[in-house]
């Protein structure tokens, strides 16, 4: 039995050491971290984004790299496990010393890595539409804030479709909760009565929608035009739309506008019952634009499958990556502080013919499109905002945050959470 | 929680405080006991009395209800009807298995059930009466008196040489003896022994017979057995069970002449003898 000791002890110690010792390496490449789940429940959405970043890095290297060096992708798999996100973020920043990280999808994964990025002063590009109420020095939010997706969509329903009654249906987590809170406040401000708003939350992956669709049907038969604003997440959408179709609720009767259903999600859905339902995004694959056509072509070539679709978070990474490249070129270094400073004001073309600009609150300007789902799984744009909408980190429609602003450019503020009334800045971990 | 800890040692749900009262010479009473499984009457109005210090053999064909009877006595199965008393005063139907074990009824299973990863010594220590209080359990040592008791039982079942061996590597017969030894450690008034010699060599069988006979008097012993030769070698009184009832009772020689018994055994394909 003594041999166990002999066998295990050096083994463990050796493991410890190899784990910890980061090999010194020549700085001939700039490392870029990719922090997207490749397994687990979120793999379904995030794998595509990993490939997108790899494609962008590939393209940049073909253009000669950055600052005369090649870019090198460091891909890790946080496996849809939130503590693992933090661990992997630390690994990327501390062990691999990456210059920037492109990653995260869910809010909880972002919340999990946030302290790590702030502590180690890394840079994270977060490409997904989210609930707002956050602005970190170290994070650039290239997805939509609520005012870049939800509010314009509701405006469209209210004005163009004359919707009077509202069902706010969402999965029970922070993004739908915030979005619905903002929308509720917004609708009430527009004179919608409380009894004309129905709010419903369901768990992740909810699959039996019979009762809820029946309730929506009943709610919608009160004689006023009714619409569903859906923040239902991922997997729960398929059974939801199927049930809608089966119970005979068509887009003509009760349109559903979704904020989490894009081209990629539609590719896994039988779209027949969905035709005519709506989605609000800042990008659609169907938008006719030279940059978009080129992007789609590159994507199909890169992924070696011309049936693959493109979607909004991919565009967000496209914009974010190009902004980062420009900022590094401007700062002439990958040093975090300098790049973060250089980021604000950087402009990069988006894929729909406009130009996205990085704002002092670390959000960007975006156009908002409303698309109708087509039988081929694409969206037809039925409405778009006149110009670009500036992302607002802190919603004006929430009592807790209407006085709060984020401004990382103004030397007097330099804060993501500045209360304009109290003139203080709170909730910042690292100054 | 403290109540629970203290209760680890308490007699049971309705622990009897009085000791076993066998003043009428009868230790175990079963009266009018019936139990049904899915419509099948496993025990049907069975009445049986075991005297104090008696060695009783119970025989009967498969499905006669022998094991079920033991289940009822030891609290594993609750009957649909009938009374089961231990001595004059203790209603066994009110107690659960551990409580019944603690008032002095030990049971040996048909298949030898010893704790194989433990040594013979540890098996006996496990069975030792009086050690089942939590404080008693949270110790790693044996007191001198306990050691003596274990040594005595080891001697009695003839396993002294095997004390330090794992129970799992004992021979089949030795396992049977160890299990009987474990019953003895419980200091029971009544021993229920289910097929003690199944699979034993004749020599082992002989030793087992001696062991069981030596136990009678000091304890009451109920032996369920198929092997008629073995039954003949130990029993004073034999009960024949058939279809959940007592078919006949008496000395073995008388029973073997009983036409009903012969029919049951022949009809069931078993040879009596």
């Amino acid at each position: 039995m003594t041999d166990i000791k002999l066998k295990i002890f050096p083994w463990l110690l050796a493991g410890t050491l190899t784990l910890g010792v980061s090999l010194a390496h020549a700085a001939d490449t700039i490392k870029v971290g990719v922090l997207h789940s490749l397994s687990g429940t979120m793999a379904i959405s995030e794998t595509t984004l990993k490939d997108t970043v790899l494609m962008l890095i590939d393209a940049q290297n073909k253009k000669g790299g950055l600052l005369g060096k090649k870019l090198e992708a460091v891909v890790v798999d946080p496996a849809s496990n939130w503590p693992l996100f933090a661990e992997k973020a630390r690994e990327l920043l501390q062990k691999d010393k990456v210059a920037a990280v492109f990653g995260c999808w869910t809010s909880v994964s972002r919340k999990s890595v946030l302290p790590v990025f702030e502590e180690l002063n890394g840079i994270l590009f977060y490409p997904v539409q989210y609930e707002g109420e956050e602005s970190s020095k170290n994070v650039f939010y290239t997805g939509a804030a609520p005012n870049q997706q939800a509010i314009p969509a509701v405006d469209y329903l209210m004005k163009d479709l004359e919707v009077k009654r509202w069902v706010l249906a969402g999965t029970d987590y922070v993004y739908p909760r915030t979005t619905n809170k903002i929308l509720e406040a917004y609708l009430k401000a527009k004179g919608v009565k409380a009894e004309d708003i129905l709010i419903n939350y369901t768990p992740f992956g909810h699959s039996d929608w019979q009762s809820i669709v029946a309730e929506i049907k009943k709610f919608g038969s009160a004689g006023k035009k009714t619409a569903v604003v859906s923040t239902i997440n991922g997997d729960a959408n398929v059974p939801f739309y199927k049930e809608l179709g089966n119970q005979g609720v068509s887009a003509k009767d009760i349109p559903v506008v979704a904020f989490s259903v894009g081209e990629e999600e539609l590719s896994g859905i039988d779209t027949k019952p969905l035709v005519g339902h709506l989605a609000a995004w800042n990008y659609f694959m169907s938008v006719k634009d030279k940059a978009n056509d080129a992007f789609i072509k590159d994507w199909h070539a890169f992924i070696k499958n011309d049936k693959r679709v493109t979607n909004d978070p991919m565009e967000a990474h496209y914009i974010g990556f190009n902004m980062w490249v420009k900022a590094v070129e401007k700062a002439k270094t990958t040093d975090s502080d300098k790049v973060i400073a250089a980021m604000i004001g950087i402009e990069a073309p988006n894929l729909t013919g406009g130009v996205a600009k990085m704002l002092p609150n670390h959000h960007i300007t975006k156009p908002v499109y409303i698309g109708e789902i087509q039988a081929d799984g694409q969206f037809d744009v039925v409405w778009k905002t006149k110009g670009l909408v500036e992302g607002d980190a802190w919603s004006d429609f929430l009592p807790g945050s209407k006085d709060i602003i984020a401004d990382w450019a103004d030397p007097k503020i330099k804060c993501g959470n500045y209360n304009t009334v109290a003139k203080t800045c709170s909730g910042q971990n690292y100054k | 929680m403290s109540e629970l800890i203290s209760e680890l040692d308490a007699g049971g749900m309705h622990a009897p405080v009085e000791p076993v009262d066998a003043s009428h010479g009868i230790l175990l009473y079963l009266e009018g006991v019936s139990v049904t499984f899915d419509g099948f009457k496993a025990i049907d109005n069975l009445s049986l009395y075991v005297a104090d210090g008696e060695l009783r053999c119970v025989i009967g064909p498969n499905g006669a209800g022998k094991t079920t009877m033991m289940d009822i006595i030891t609290g594993k199965t609750k009957p649909d009807a009938g009374r089961v008393f231990f001595g004059q005063t203790i209603d066994l139907l009110q107690l659960d298995e551990p409580a019944i074990a603690r008032i002095g009824i030990g049971r040996k299973f048909q298949k030898p059930t010893v704790i194989e990863p433990l040594t013979v010594l540890e098996n006996l220590e496990l069975a030792m009466s009086g050690a089942k209080r939590l404080r008693g359990l949270l110790t790693t040592r044996l007191a001198g008196a306990e050691r003596d008791r274990i040594a005595a039982v080891l001697e009695r079942v003839g396993l002294t040489a095997q004390a330090g061996r794992l129970a799992g590597i004992l021979a089949h017969g030795q396992k049977q003896w160890l299990e009987i030894g474990m019953l003895l450690m419980q200091e029971p008034r009544l021993l229920l022994v289910d097929e003690p010699v199944a699979g034993m060599t004749p020599a082992e069988m002989e030793r087992t017979a001696e062991l069981l006979k030596s136990l009678a008097g000091e304890h009451s012993v109920v032996v369920v057995e198929h092997d008629m030769g073995f039954v003949r070698s130990i029993a004073d009184k034999v009960t024949v069970l058939h279809q959940g009832r007592v078919l006949a009772e008496g000395a073995l020689e008388d029973l073997q002449a009983d036409p009903r018994v012969i029919e049951v055994y022949l009809g069931d394909g078993h040879a009596a003898g």
Binding site: Y201, E265, E372 | -
Partner: protein, 538 residues
């Protein structure tokens, strides 16, 4: 009362076919030019202009109008900039066959990205549907006429009222007549005369069509005349009462439907776990295989035929996978249920990742056949066809399984091995073969359940995981080794869940059911219908 899309689509096709036949050719050249001009405008117009243009198009006496409008509604109308003409796409692919919108001549193939789609929105579609439907009111086919009236009920259009009234006078079919009366009453609700409005409101009372409730409740709240408001309120109360009753029936149906899904998911497990005592944590993944088989079948066969083919195929695929698992892993672990549990859990992870690697982590789109879409009326209760079919399917699967276990040689052997393995072997039953086949049977049923699930939920690598805990709960609740128990347990859990849901919300309902189950198992460790006796104690 069949309102499934199939009927509607057929109806529209018929309408434009009739239009083609009805109109003579001479005026065509002039009309062609007007139509082309309107279509050219349509391309540039915003949606309110488009509505006006559609009205103008609909007013044209042109044989292609119905086709064009239908194409617009279906988003198949494109503008080919290079040729400066409107075209209709005939199929749906990156490269599509097109025909001239106005002339109807086939124009070969065109790349989709070279065509500019003339978009429609929902209001426009409603308008088009109305315009097309009003043409169908005179159809010889009662189904068409009924659909036309129903279209009116959905989108009451004052312009069409007179046509309805005229039709009512000559309509022979009593059912359609009643529906016409209803439609007219609905139109009268907007009449300038208060008496007519009050009468209309009373006529609408107690009707369950959801389209009627809106206008009625509007009248009850907003009508300027108090008598009308009163009449509308009374009518509404009658409607509400009947709806209440209907609500209960509906909840029951939802419960049965959820229950049937639970049974389908659990019944294969009832065989492997209940009959064989094997804990198969990969059960959910076998369902997933069934669902993927459905998807694969749909790649080869038309959607409407795919399901009947998919059922036996899914059974086969899952059964083979099951037998492979049994032969490869489980047979070494008989009598060690906890180890079986761990090993099969490993198998489930491998299967999940295998599917992820082969089919990508993305969900696969499994289409619903037309005969499973839409609703069907059971008396006043409208139920969804797919749910109804799945309930029936569940009963059929259950009955077949029961028969298989009771009436076949395999069933007999299975029961023999279950009860006494050694004895069965002595009787010449090859228990290894029986084990493999039984496990295959249970797995095959899981595959078949997967076909049903593909019609309700996502077909993706995670499909199995979402059902595994539920299915174990059903089997344990029902009592292991008892198929009837599984049936009762599944149905009662389904109904309980649905009864709780409106009161507590979906999540809490599920938690409550789980907590109830945990408590129930404490109370009756062997389920609703326990196997009793000595065998069960062993």
């Amino acid at each position: 009362m069949l309102t499934c899309p199939l009927v509607r689509a057929g109806f529209l096709t018929l309408v434009f076919a009739m239009a083609l036949l009805a109109v003579p050719t001479p005026a065509r050249a002039a009309d062609d030019a007007v139509a082309r001009a309107l279509l050219a405008q349509l391309r540039e117009a915003d949606f309110s202009d488009k509505a006006r243009l559609v009205e103008q198009l609909a007013a044209l006496e042109h044989p292609r109008i119905a086709t064009i409008l239908k194409a617009l509604a279906d988003s198949r109308l494109y503008y080919q900039e290079a040729e400066n003409r409107a075209v209709i796409g005939l199929d749906d692919a990156p490269t599509i066959a097109i025909e001239d919108a106005v002339g109807g001549a086939a124009l070969g193939q065109a790349g989709k990205r070279d065509l500019e789609k003339i978009t429609a929105n929902n209001r426009l579609r409603n308008l088009i549907e109305n315009r097309l439907a009003s043409l169908g009111l005179a159809s010889a086919d009662p189904g068409q006429r009924r659909a036309a009236v129903q279209a009116f009920l959905k989108n009451p259009d004052p312009a069409g009222t007179e046509r309805l009234r005229a039709r009512l006078a000559v309509e022979p079919d009593a059912g359609i007549k009643a529906l016409l009366a209803l439609a007219l009453a609905l139109a009268d609700l907007a009449s300038p005369e208060a008496a007519a409005r009050a009468q209309a409101a009373t006529a609408l009372g107690g009707r369950l069509q959801p389209e009627l409730r809106g206008p009625l409740s509007r009248a009850a709240a907003e009508d300027p005349d108090p008598a009308v408001r009163e009449a509308a309120r009374t009518a509404l109360t009658r409607t509400e009462f009947r709806l209440q009753l209907l609500g209960w029936a509906e909840t029951l149906f939802f419960g049965l439907s959820l229950g049937s899904v639970l049974i389908l998911a659990a019944i294969g497990l009832a065989v492997t776990f209940g009959v064989m005592g094997v804990i198969n944590m990969a059960h959910g993944e076998l369902m997933m295989l069934g669902a993927y088989t459905t998807w694969l079948t749909q790649q080869w066969l038309p959607v409407n035929w795919s399901l009947p083919v998919a059922v036996p195929l899914a059974f086969l695929v899952a059964a083979l996978a099951g037998i492979a698992i049994e032969r490869g892993v489980i047979r070494f672990l008989y009598g060690r249920p906890l180890e079986t549990l761990l090993a099969t859990f490993g198998v489930s992870l491998i299967l999940q990742q295998a599917v992820r690697s082969i089919f990508s982590p993305l969900n696969r789109s499994v289409a619903t056949p037309d005969w499973m879409s839409g609703t069907i009326a059971l008396g006043p209760l409208e139920v969804t066809l797919n749910r109804l079919i799945i309930i029936g399917f569940c009963i059929a699967v259950f009955a077949l399984l029961w028969l298989a276990l009771q009436r076949t040689r395999l069933g007999l052997e299975v029961r023999a091995v279950t009860q006494n393995r050694a004895m069965a072997q002595a009787m010449g039953v090859r228990s290894a073969r029986v084990d493999a086949l039984t496990f295959g049977l249970g797995s095959g049923i899981a595959g078949v359940a997967g076909v049903a699930l593909s019609q309700l939920t996502n077909v993706g690598p995670n499909l199995g995981q979402s059902y595994i805990v539920d299915s174990f709960m059903v089997v344990v609740f029902g009592g292991v080794g008892n198929l009837w128990g599984t049936l009762v347990a599944g149905l009662s859990l389904g109904v309980a869940n649905k009864l709780l849901e409106p009161w507590s919300g979906a999540v809490l309902a599920k938690i409550l059911v789980l907590v109830f189950l945990v408590l129930f198992i404490q109370k009756r460790p062997r389920g609703l219908f326990p196997q009793r006796g000595r065998a069960a104690e062993a």
